[in-house]
Structures are given as C-alpha cells and as structure tokens.
C-alpha cells in the first residue's frame, strides 16, 4: 500500500501533525524510531507555554509561538491534558536587567503578545514572596502557561490513531528513495511507501533531510539538565520564573509543573551525540547555583529526580518549516527548539494545511472525533467518582503506585490505549506510576508484572524503554 503521508518522528510535532492530518481522509503513518512516542526532545523539556516575547520579530519562532500559545488551551481541553495558565515572570536582579525587561516588553508588543506588564519590586513580591531579595523588578506575561509535553504528545498520538492514523514504533528510517511520485522509506520495519513525508525527526532531522539531498537543515543537539523537586516543596512559586535571557537561551527557570512538582533547569550544553541524555555533575551543579539566584529557598535536597533533555538547535537559529527545496512533497518541521512546544499546535496545523492544500482531492474525515476519551485518574477523582469507577472495573480499586495513587485499572488502560505503553517508562509517562517520591521502588516490579501479563510476555522480556533496556535476566537457579 501507499500512504498519503508518512511522518518521521513521534514527538510533539509529529503526533500533533498526525492528529491534524487525521481530520482528513488520508492514510497516515506516524513512524517512531524508539519504542514509544515522545522519546526525544519532547520527553524532557521545561513544559512551558511561552507568551512569545523572546523570539526576534519576523522569525518563524515569533510567528508560530504566539499562534500556538493561543491554541494550546483548547487543544489541551479536547485532548484531556492538564494545562495551566499560570503566567510567567522574567525577573531582573540589577538596574541593567530592568532595561533588558523593557526591551523584552517592546519586542513582545512587536510580536503581538497580549497581557504583558512591567512590575515594580513591590508588585513582584506581592505575586511571588519567596523570590530572592535581590530581585528588583519583572516582566509579567499573563498568557504564559504550563503543560506536560509528553502527556500532550501521548494524547495527540492516541487521538490520531483513534481517527485512523497508524503508529509504527521501533521503525527507524535508514534511507529514502523516490520512485516516480512515491517516496520509499527504508526502515527497520521494512519499506514504507508514501506520497508525502513530514520530517519531524528532532535532533536527527538534518540526517533525514540529507536522505533526499536537502542540506538546508543543520542541527546541533543541545543538552539541558533539570531537577524535579518533591511535591512537599509546595508552591514556593506559582508563576514560571525566568531570569534574563542569555545567548544560549532563556536560562535557568524555576517553575511549577502541571503535576504539582517544582522544576528547576535547564543548562544548555552542545553535545556531539544527538541521543545523549546523560546528566553531568557540573551541569547539575550549575542548575543548583543558578536556580538559587532566583529563589533561595529552592533546595535540591528535596529533589526526587534529575534528568537531561535534548534540544534540536538549527544553525539558522530559527525553525525550519515548510516544503523542502529538494522535493516539495517533503515537508520539514526541523530545528524545533524552544518555543517549539508552545508553537506545536500552530506548526502542526500549518503543515496539515500545506499538504491538504497541495493535494488534488482531499475530503474531510467525517468520523473525526476531536475529543480524546476521558481518562480516569484516581488521584484527581472525588470519592463518588472513585466508587463509580471501581463499580465499573474493580481494578480501579487496586493501588499499584502508592506515591501517586495510581491504580491497576489506569495502568491497564495505558497499555491498551491506541499507541499505548509497551514498557515501564511508557506506563510511567501515561499514569505517573513510579514518578513519585519513591521513584518506582515499590511499584516498579508490579508494573513489570502487569505489562508482561497484558502483552503476553515473560517478565524478563519487559524493558524500561525498549531496545536492550531489559530489567531482568534469566530465572534464578
């Protein structure tokens, strides 16, 4: 068979693009090299929906950021993903930085950012009393928010599959040829034929583009390290707290997450290895020192985990979005770094527009359902909702993850969902089982058992995140 569109990369861009395209009667394949969606840059970033004052006016970053941020609340609502419009603050720590805030404000106006306000020291501390006393002013952006990047991606992929798209995991594209009007993608799962290709391959998008002779994309991977603090830290800050931006990006932030933790980070270090998500002592130390500048009471003593994420930085310093010069049926969505998550809904919509506009006859998918099925979350449910769920399915009465109150029913749902979980980390990202303060110490082995049972495998075949990341060896003597 020949697909209409093959999307390479199931990150937030790929998954949302698949969903946008599934509004039409198209055969869509969403290809992912790893064992799950959201395994690259999407997995580990700040999860911030930026207001849009950072990007230089006229850039694609500026254009898509403001549009995407405006679309985000509705998308999250349809996809049943938590989104919080908590607002952001760029905090100044000196008179020079106060001047910088003014230029950020001006830039925001040029980018059509609404809801900005320059705050005095007093106004700032009225909003955020726990900031370091050196803080002397801030730029408030009311439209900024927070979202969980992988949850959004999981939901988008699930919804795309529900609406007819196919998800292929462990399907790494190793070469591309063109036979007349059809691309032949040589993948680790065999050849895939398609009329259009969307290149959403993150830190590998230049390598994918090069397969059709497009050398316009040049990617440098940048690693960013973070800490997640225990929920017991509470709301030391309610807004996302930025420092003034530097050459390498928006600097170290202190922010609540939609799940109620505090996130601090990231650093920004270029890395040769495009899949390198190792943390470094120096990097983590840096995060600690820089975060303390914003908020002295934030201590990594309450850290429950640290991690590193990757950003696909394009040498052009802007997104690379649109048909390739080498082949107009090959659409690039490359160099997607911050504000990539904020821009994602708008980028996806734009790519779907390019393809459907170019296609000679494409009809809308009349069976398209925009709403993702309600997901039962024990920890967020009222007593009545809990009882009702247990009556429906007793597995909702069996708590597997104590720290995050995740039930067996929710884990089974996550595995059985369209584009569902196939490994321990996949269950974790979908349900939060293992994401609490014990980090899976108690529930890890139970999740392995449930995965094995649901997938019809032995427990030593279950992996942490696909490939060779098996957890157990052979049976004991």
């Amino acid at each position: 068979m020949v697909y209409d569109v093959a999307i390479i990369g199931a990150g937030v861009i790929g998954a949302l693009t698949a969903r946008e395209l599934s509004r039409f009667q198209l055969h869509i394949a969403l290809l992912e090299a790893e064992n799950d969606v959201a395994m690259g840059a999407t997995k580990a970033n700040s999860g911030i929906v930026h207001a849009g004052f950072d990007a230089l006016p006229g850039t694609l970053k500026a254009k898509f950021n403001v549009k995407g941020t405006a679309m985000m609340p509705e998308y999250c609502k349809e996809l049943n993903v938590p989104y919080k419009n908590n607002g952001s603050l760029v905090v100044a720590f000196s008179e020079e930085e106060i001047e910088e805030l003014k230029s950020l404000y001006e830039r925001g106006l040029q980018n059509n950012v609404a809801g900005m306000e320059l705050l005095s020291r007093d106004e700032l501390f009225a909003l955020e009393p726990n900031l370091a006393p050196e803080a002397c002013g801030a730029l408030l952006a009311k439209t900024a928010g927070i979202v969980c990047p992988y949850e959004l991606t999981i939901a988008a992929a699930e919804n795309a599959v529900t609406n007819g798209a196919e998800f292929k995991r462990n399907c790494r594209v190793e070469g591309i040829e063109k036979e007349e009007e059809v691309f032949v993608l040589h993948t680790t799962q065999g050849d895939i034929r398609t009329r259009y290709v969307v290149n959403a391959a993150g830190t590998h998008s230049d390598q994918i583009a090069a397969m059709i002779g497009d050398d316009s994309v040049k990617i440098k991977a940048r690693s960013g390290e973070y800490f997640i603090l225990d929920k017991s830290v509470g709301d030391v800050v309610t807004h996302t707290i930025f420092q003034c931006p530097t050459e390498l990006g928006k600097g170290v932030l202190v922010s609540p997450t939609v799940d109620g933790n505090i996130l601090i980070g990231p650093t920004a270090t270029e890395t040769e290895d495009r899949d390198n998500t190792a943390t470094t002592l120096a990097g983590l130390n840096n995060v600690k020192v820089l975060a303390a500048k914003s908020c002295k009471v934030v201590s990594t003593r309450s850290a429950i985990t640290s991690f590193a994420g990757l950003r696909a930085h394009a040498e052009s310093n802007d997104f690379v979005i649109g048909p390739s010069k080498a082949d107009s049926k090959f659409i690039n969505a490359a160099g997607i770094e911050s504000p990539g998550l904020s821009s994602a809904p708008a980028i996806a919509k734009y790519i779907a527009y390019i393809i459907t506009n170019d296609y000679t006859d494409v009809a809308p998918n009349e069976n398209f359902v925009a709403e993702r099925k309600d997901v039962f979350r024990f920890r967020n449910a009222s007593d009545e909702e809990r009882q009702e769920a247990i009556d429906r399915n007793p597995a909702y009465g069996r708590i597997i993850c104590r720290c995050e109150s995740v039930t067996e029913g929710e884990i089974i749902d996550a595995i059985r969902a369209p584009a569902g979980a196939r490994d321990v980390d996949g269950v974790k990202r979908r349900t939060r089982a293992g994401m609490g303060r014990c980090q899976g110490g108690f529930c890890g082995s139970k999740v392995v058992e449930i995965l094995a049972r649901e997938l019809g495998k032995e427990i030593n075949e279950i992996t942490k995140f696909g490939n060779g990341s098996n957890i157990l060896f052979e049976k004991t003597k």
């Binding site: 429950i304 990341s469 157990l472």
Partner: protein, 418 residues
Amino acid sequence: MINYDLVVIGGGPAGMAAALKAKECGVGSILILERAETLGGILEQCIHTGFGLHYFGEELSGPEYAERFIKELKTTDIQVKCDTMALDISENNVVTAVNKTDGLLKIQAKAVILAMGCRERPRGALEMAGTRASGIMTAGTAQKYVNIDGYMPGKEVVILGSGDIGLIMARRMTLEGAKVKVVCEIMPYSGGLTRNIVQCLDDFDIPLRLSTTVIETHGKDRLEGVTIAKVDEKLQPIKGTEEYIPCDTLMLSVGLIPENELTKNVGIEMDRVTNGAVVDEMRQTDHKGIFACGNVLHVHDLVDYVTLESQLAGQGAAEYILNKQPKETVYVSTTTGTGVRYLVPQRVNIKNPNDVKLYFRVGRIFKNAKVVLECDGKVISSKKKVKLAPGEMENVIIPADVLASMNESGVICVRVEE
C-alpha cells in the same frame, strides 16, 4: 461507614504485634489494613536468617518470623483486609481506604495505629550523574525480584551504600551466581550491622570501600558501568580518584525513609531527624488516639525491637480506648546530648508508673565510651560501651522511681562520654 475500636494501618511486623497486644489488653474490634496481597510486610522477601534472636531466642528467616504472628492472628477475631490501601485519616479518626472488593471504605476508629513502615531512598535523591539506563534499582527492589519473582536482576553488580539490605543483597546475588564487584559507602563507616559486614561481605571476599561513592552511570540501554570516586570530609568527590567499574547492575542501599504521608496529612507533629512522628512513651502522637510504631516511627535495624515497640503502641492504644491511661499527663521532653542523634520517645509522661526505655542512635563511631542518662542534671546511669555505631540502635532505661521523682520542668538527657 463501618466502626472499629482500633484500625491498624500496615500488616507488617509492627502492625501485627500492635494489633495482637491491643487484643490481649482487651480491645474489642480491631481491623488491620495491609496494602500488599499478604500480611508480613517486608519480612516476606527477607528469606535470610537472623530474625528473632532477641525476641524468640532463636534464629528465624523473615517469613518464619512473620508466620508466628500471622498464625497467632488467626486465633483471634482481629479482622484483616489485604490488598487494601489507606488513603487518608481525618481529624476525627475516620480512615478512608480502598480495595478491589469493597471499593472505597470509610472506617470510624476510636484509635489508629500507624505502622506503614518505610521505603528506600531512590537514585533521584542522590547526586549521581549519567544515563538513565535500566539496571539501576534499590536493593529492596532487587531483593523482591530474586526472592519473590525468581529472576536475576543482574550479573555484574556494584552496590552503593552499606545499609543492611545492601549487605544482605551482596551475599544473595553472590549465592545466585552473580559477581558483586564492590560495595561503596560514602561515609567513613558502614551503616549496617557488624554481623552483616562479616557474614555478607568478608565471608565472600567482597570489598567494602569506605568514603567512596558512585558519581556517574554509563550505558544507554542497559547499564554498562559506573564511575566511583573517593570523597573528602564534606562528602564531595575528590578529583583524580575516579575509577571506572564495568557492571550491568547498580543496587542502591542508601537509606530508608519512614512512609509518613498519611501522618503528615493529619497534621501530626514530626521529628526532623527520625522523619517519624513525635511520640510519648506509649508511642502516642500529639494527635490523641493516633499511635505510631515500627519503621514508620524511626528506622530500626532489628525486627525484634520493632515487635517490642509495637507492643507498647498496642498497649497504649488499648489503654486509650478502654480509658485506662494514667489520670494525669505531665510531659517532659527527652533531649539529645553530645554524640546522640535522636531519641525515641521524644517525650515522657512522668505520671506513667512504669520504667521507660529510650531508644537512640549515635551520630558517629565511638570506641570505649560511656552512655550517660541524666535526669534533672543528676546522672542516673552510666554504661560502658566498647563500641557505638550509627548503624546499631542503642537503648537506656529510665527507672519508674526516677520518673516519679521528676516534675514538669524536668530534663531528661542522654549523651555519650568518651
């Protein structure tokens, strides 16, 4: 709403001993809530021996030790609900719990005993850089895989932390055919029992490296190795001492944390050192009718002491329910003197007519030292000790007549004299 005189949260050694004692003291209806499928708690996966030497005067395995209490429970009318998770305790002692068969349960209790045990400190709490490969797990998780599930979690193992579970797992993995390359301990002394160091490491020629930690993990999918390094007095890695050790598994035995989420939600006063509730000599918290015992109160090294402590809590709860508590309550705080890291109980009712045993841990290793108990500035007892170590819990007794002679402004202090 169901009604019970006493609800015990946790069916491990602490919960079982507390419930049995309360029954013996005459409490009517008792319910134990246990989140695992069976009673016994962590003892069920501790198939090595060494349990019960103090309490039963014989050496038992973990499951055997638990079995004695499970059997005794069966001879009583104490109710047990396994696979049941307690979610909340309200101001007026209504316990909310959930399971597959009953759904949501609301249980009105006259008294509650907290016996939820503890959990292992995870990697995230450590400053360890590197990849997120599989093969990094707590020693307790590894123990469950080997002893309960019957699968090998690794073949070439490095263990970080010389807590008792880490030491036990070093021996267990070796007996199962794995190669345990080294046990690293960041402190200049081991946090485990001396007998475990001898029986689990020395007997198998497994090296223990003190003042050494793991600073980095390597390997993208499965762990391929770790970098270890010596640390200075401030526990910071010393440059130039790094060493790469190939391994497929890193087990963490880096401390235990009492599981006090329920306790904190009730608003019970907590001890910042033990990470458990502040209690009196009967293990009653500042919330009347709520008691705590076992590892949820402070981490023990021997289950025998958990049993003894839990019996106190059971008796205390019974006295509360049956209105037999001392008529008067006059609390005196216990104070940690030189060398003593914490004391349990943190306060003593001087109107209690019995001897009171204080449990404590020291902050570092002492050799040929004296444990001194002072009440109102007067030395009550001074006991010589050849060795005191943070890994071994100690105790000292305040005689009843000394308590009776004290008044409300009294001072109880335990210190170490070198």
